[in-house]
């Protein structure tokens, strides 16, 4: 039984990474894409927390516990905390950039973006929209 449960965080991590990746590849809106990036990031939290988890152990706060009580690994929790801060920074920056992009040309569709803000190579594949131009 515990074998199944110890696999669970890994399955969850792979699932989150997969849907996050699918979301990024197929995204039609940069805010949605930022959310997908957060899903990928959550999968890294799951990996970290799954690694540090111990069955039957307490939270690593020894205020009212005897020293030597089995506790879950506090190091990975510190890593997750730091990672949350980094993720928040990146998300905030991304959203700020998207807001500016929306102000500039009103298009926030990643599929409509081309290098240098315009497409120069005529492409055979359909479905590519005319891009956002610089004013």
């Amino acid at each position: 039984m515990s074998d199944v449960f110890s696999l669970l965080p890994w399955i969850g991590a792979v699932w989150l990474f997969g849907i996050g990746l699918y979301g990024i590849v197929s995204s039609r809106h940069f805010v949605h894409l930022t959310g997908c990036l957060a899903a990928i990031q959550s999968s890294s939290y799951l990996v970290l927390l799954g690694i540090g988890y111990r069955y039957g152990a307490v939270a690593p706060i020894f205020y009212d516990k005897r020293p030597g009580t089995q506790a879950v690994d506090p190091v990975v929790q510190a890593l997750v905390l730091t990672d949350v801060v980094i993720g928040a920074t990146v998300s905030a920056l991304l959203l700020a950039l998207v807001l500016q992009l929306h102000k500039r040309n009103g298009i926030v569709d990643p599929q409509a973006m081309r290098p240098m803000g315009k497409s120069a190579v005529p492409t055979a594949g359909g479905g590519r929209q005319p891009n956002g131009h610089t004013a």
Partner: protein
């Protein structure tokens, strides 16, 4: 304070903390500190950081030292604390970063007028986190500095807030953030089996069970993340978009030092942490050499096909960093030393070239090679410097770039890889030829007829025109002066230093035989430069080539070139898929 100065091991933390504190102070006083003072303070700080790191590199010599923060030294074999490592590889890289930033901030004087001093704050954060990365001796610490540096880079890319720069910044942020999460997962896997994050502790565990698949998976994930920052094929798609649209002083930093950091990270991981695993050494050898060759060739071909000068330079960066990656993959100290020296030489030249691109933007009002034809005649001194830089890129046998290439070549030939000189020559000839073509067209009014570069993406960007030409040329000439010093007076000592840094990074180990071969390329040393001149002359004289010959040539090359253009002219989703394909490739090499 005196005690801190007596112990060189404490210098790295002083450098990093000092830069961070100054950045905080400048940000707090953004409204009251006059721009001139910001310039002076930022310049003094970056120069001081570089000089301190250089002195540290010399003082620390053969005795790399660890500094455990807060006195948390390992107890009973358990390392819970976080350490900074002062060795010649890290200190040398930090000194070079200091030089690059000093040059870039100097060049940027007046560029960001009216934008308060946020540029200086971001640049100081950028440098501080790079130094932290170079000195880190702990997997997670390294990751945090890496991410801090990335965020500063993302913000600097989008600084101009134009449509194309926002697009480039978004692309850069998304691809690199996915790479960063892969690094984090790799670190988590390494921690799962090593129960430690300190380099030496993880290495000790790897020594104990060299065939542990979890450790190998950790290396694959971490390498993917670092190769994304190093912009190696197929993780490179963000780089041309980001480099082309970032403000030119920032592009100089990106190509000069930031991209090299990914390579530094891969080398540290391969040599310092995971070296005891035979599968990792196999992966580093086969995987890094093939990815490096792919990048060297693809980057060079793409560079020749560009018309946006900064985009052209960005592709040439991919190509040259690919060559340095081969040096890491050779798994020998001489190759690693050559790689480090090559990166330094490339960084100097590329920073100068991006500054000249910046001069074109501000004095000629454009960056499009075809649109600017002949416009550069009144600023001909910049053209002469650019032509000289192009020849160095092409590989004329002078200076640190060539010395590094020769060291890598000697290592490769003692491993039996005699074709490395050909790859180096190919990349040099094409990238050098591309830059020479730009020089000829913009500064000497040559090349009325355009070729495949006509179809490349371009932009009608301009930068602040309020800066006099001469003032902008001075930092370029200063970097040129540094290059001349490294090529003449300090040629031998820089080679020796690169070897010593590689020795420190490899912890004295050497995984490939080294015979004392003379540093000499089997082909004529001047050949790549001659080919570069030939390529540029052909490109600039298309109108003189008979139609029959020209059409045959174009017909042969067009389908392949067109496919490359289309691949590089795509959306973020496809870039992410390429990245995952690269990850699978690395994993496949590790398994088989």
């Amino acid at each position: 304070m005196n005690a801190a100065f007596a112990d060189p091991a404490a210098w790295p933390i002083c450098i990093v903390a000092g830069l961070l504190m100054l950045a905080g102070l400048l940000l707090a006083g953004a409204k009251i500190v006059p721009p001139v003072l910001s310039d002076i303070l930022a310049l003094a700080a970056t120069a001081a950081a570089g000089v301190l790191a250089a002195v540290l590199a010399i003082r620390i010599g053969d005795h790399p030292a660890l500094y455990w923060m807060g006195g948390w030294t390992p107890r009973q074999g358990q390392a819970i604390g976080i350490a900074f490592l002062a060795d010649r590889a890290g200190a040398g890289a930090a000194a070079f970063a200091g030089l690059m930033f000093t040059g870039a901030i100097w060049f940027a004087r007046g560029y960001f007028a009216g934008a308060r001093n946020h540029f200086h704050v971001l640049m100081l954060l950028f440098l501080a986190s790079q130094c932290g990365f170079f000195f880190a001796h702990d997997l997670f610490d390294m990751f945090v500095w890496f991410e801090m540096m990335s965020v500063a880079g993302f913000a600097l890319t989008g600084y101009a807030l134009r449509s194309s720069s926002l697009d480039g910044a978004l692309n850069f942020t998304i691809i690199n953030t996915i790479g960063a999460y892969l690094i984090l997962m790799g670190i988590a896997l390494a921690y799962a089996h090593a129960n430690a994050l300190d380099f030496s502790a993880v290495r000790a565990v790897a020594q104990g069970r060299p065939d542990d698949p979890v450790l190998i998976a950790a290396f694959v994930l971490i390498t993917t993340g670092f190769l994304t920052k190093a912009a190696q094929v197929p993780f490179h798609f963000w780089l041309p978009d980001a480099h082309a649209v970032a403000p030119s002083p920032v592009s100089a930093i990106f190509s000069g030092i930031m991209v090299s950091i990914g390579l530094f990270g891969v080398a540290r991981m391969a040599w310092d942490v995971f070296a005891p695993c035979p599968a990792v050494r196999h992966l580093a050898h086969v995987g890094l050499i093939s990815i490096g060759c792919g990048s060297a060739i693809a980057g060079a071909v793409m560079a020749l096909m560009q018309r946006h000068v900064k985009r052209l330079l960005a592709f040439s960066t991919i190509s040259h960093v690919g060559i340095a990656l081969i040096g890491v993959g050779l798994l020998g100290q001489q190759g690693l030393g050559g790689s480090l020296l090559y990166l330094a030489g490339h960084g100097l030249i590329k920073a100068m070239l991006f500054m000249i691109a910046g001069i074109m933007l501000s004095t000629l009002g454009g960056i499009d090679e075809i649109g600017l034809r002949g416009a550069g005649r009144r600023i001909w001194p910049a053209g002469i410097v650019m032509g000289a830089c192009a020849l160095v890129l092409a590989g004329i046998p002078v200076g640190p770039l060539d010395a590094g290439a020769r060291m890598m070549d000697a290592q490769a030939r003692s491993n039996g890889l005699h074709w490395l000189a050909l790859v180096i020559g190919f990349a040099g000839a094409l990238t050098g030829g591309a830059v020479l073509r730009v020089t000829g067209r913009v500064f000497f009014n040559l090349g009325p007829m355009t070729g495949e570069e006509d179809a490349a993406p371009t932009d009608d960007e301009r930068e602040h025109a309020n800066r006099p030409f001469a003032a902008q040329l001075v930092p370029v000439l200063t970097l040129l002066g540094v290059w001349v010093l490294l090529a003449s007076m300090f040629a031998r000592s820089s080679e020796r230093f690169a070897l010593a840094a590689a020795h420190d990074m490899a912890l004295g180990a050497d995984f490939s035989s080294r015979r004392a071969l003379p540093h000499m390329t089997p082909i004529l040393p001047w050949l790549p430069a001659l080919v570069a001149v030939a390529i540029a002359s052909v490109d600039l004289n298309r109108h003189r080539i008979p139609d029959v010959v020209y059409d045959r040539l174009m017909g042969l090359t067009r389908p392949g070139l067109h496919m490359l253009q289309v691949i590089h002219d795509s959306v973020i989703g496809e870039y992410v898929l390429w990245m995952m394909a690269g990850l699978l490739l690395l994993a496949g090499i590790a398994i088989f």
